[in-house]
């Protein structure tokens, strides 16, 4: 029986100014997923972690992705799935995307790579639809392609892999709950044209910075005048961490996806470590449990490890 094990990276969606279009894969944390191809049309899911996620295929992120693949293949195949989740659900680090993208990529390995990356993104979006109600691709795309990715358009799907710089990423996940759907609902439906212009100036600067490998331009462009001012209200300590991290030499950063995790980019390991200390001190003082990571940008996406 064919069997593969894959590593599914955590991802940071939005990258501050690139709401709904930009994303980045992280070296850590990551999930481990094992898929076995079986010759019966059924899915058996086993969780090898303590998150008690549903195992009924229709209610499981990986499950619905695999169901859509089985439907497409239209022959008597199924999957046995073992998920070892390390990316905490609700962290804002693409936990559901890791399950969705991991399932799609692992299944594709088992099916002799019959699907293109665009098709894998489409399949995996079914998982995001289950998780958050919206077929968004800003975590899935970097999870599948690795590095930094752009979704120019979702209808039709047009994804572009950008050059990813060698930067350190410090992440803190404060153990508070921010639901993606809530974080989306508090946004205004209309924005001022003058703010939209500032935002697209920054997005253009950020993309140019990535492509040119100009880390200072990346830093100057990590500014969000539309989403962050609203969403950061949901994350205690956000403003302090951001301003102190930049004072300590970080290029910049912001909310990871819809939060509550916060990420900061740095050129030097030493700065990334200073930023971690700032994050730890801030949440300790606030009496909020947290977990931190010092990592880098994961240049490849979901990887076969055996």
């Amino acid at each position: 029986m064919k069997k593969v094990t894959v590593k599914c990276p955590a991802t940071v969606a939005n990258l501050v100014c690139g709401f709904d279009i930009l994303g980045m894969a992280l070296k850590e944390p990551f999930d481990i997923m094992t898929l076995k191809l079986i010759d019966e049309p059924r899915i058996l899911i086993t969780n090898k972690d303590d998150y008690n996620l549903p195992t009924e295929p229709e209610k499981n992120v990986a499950g619905v992705v695999l169901l859509s693949i089985m439907e497409k293949m239209n022959k008597g195949i199924g999957f046995e799935v073992e998920i070892e989740k390390h990316i905490k659900p609700g962290s804002g680090l693409g936990s559901s995307a890791a399950s969705a993208a991991g399932a799609a990529v692992a299944a594709n390995f088992l099916l002799d790579s019959v699907f293109s990356n665009d098709e894998l993104v489409q399949f995996a979006m079914n998982g995001e639809k289950l998780a958050s109600g919206v077929k968004h691709a800003d975590n899935i795309t970097p999870c599948i392609l690795g590095g930094v990715t752009l979704i120019r358009s979702i209808h039709p799907l047009d994804i572009v892999k950008l050059n990813a710089p060698d930067l350190f990423v410090t992440v803190v996940h404060p153990q508070i709950e921010v639901k993606t759907s809530d974080a989306r609902q508090i946004l205004r439906k209309e924005v001022l044209l003058k703010n939209a212009i500032k935002q697209w100036g920054n997005i253009a600067g950020l993309v140019a910075g990535f492509e040119k490998g100009d880390t200072d331009l990346i830093g100057r462009s990590l500014e969000d005048v539309i989403i962050e001012p609203v969403r950061s209200i949901l994350i205690p300590g956000f403003d302090v961490i951001k301003s102190k991290s930049k004072e300590a030499g970080a290029l910049g950063g912001g909310i990871s996806g819809s939060g509550p995790s916060i990420f900061m980019l740095s050129k030097e390991a030493h700065t990334a470590s200073l930023v971690e200390t700032i994050m730890k001190e801030t949440f300790s003082q606030l009496g909020i449990e947290y977990k931190t990571y010092i990592t880098t940008i994961q240049k490849s996406g979901v990887e076969l490890i055996s």
Copy 2:
């Protein structure tokens, strides 16, 4: 007495989706400007064309730029200026920017390059303020730097030169009047967030396309869901020209600046020529006088020719 003659390129602001932030210099048309440095604090302007532009320094675009430079230098110098304008005022091809940028760069040549590009953009913006009431830099920046340019931010000024592809540009200037101030007033002050997201996806795609030299990505990204649907109403024939040009193989294009000129990008000279025919036929049928250009992207900005 020191004297220089410079060539000042026409420019296309906005580049469809990059309202207020992107711009591109053209090989044709261009103005010719001659500046003489004199040791008296006065400015003498002579027009060597038929546009009857004002020659009082305070009312002339080049004049106000030179006045701001004289004020900054704070010593007894002045300029004699001859302007041979070929970029028709009100064409949407950066006519005032060519005068403003040309004056700033030519003066800087005469002053042994004492000013940086950022400073030259700042001086030249005084000319745009006189011409349109707004200190915008989206024509000035490509006119000074050449190629394709990004203004990430205007306060503080942050300009980035992007990689410019080898593309053909077909331009038509229909002889109708669209005032920059009118074209700005008809825009809504608020935009839908979902449209803003589409727009910044396209801007990100366009910048990535320029940097990667991916002309198909450039083509797919030349889409404007915010400004063009409103402004194109002021330009008869716009929709016909755009759709027929794309059918003929053009990558895409749109309104140049605030119009009324229209530009289209093509990979091949042959396509650029087909597009010109479409433009000519459309305005002939509408009974509107026009002028067309088939040109390329001018990679350098204002140039010293003697």
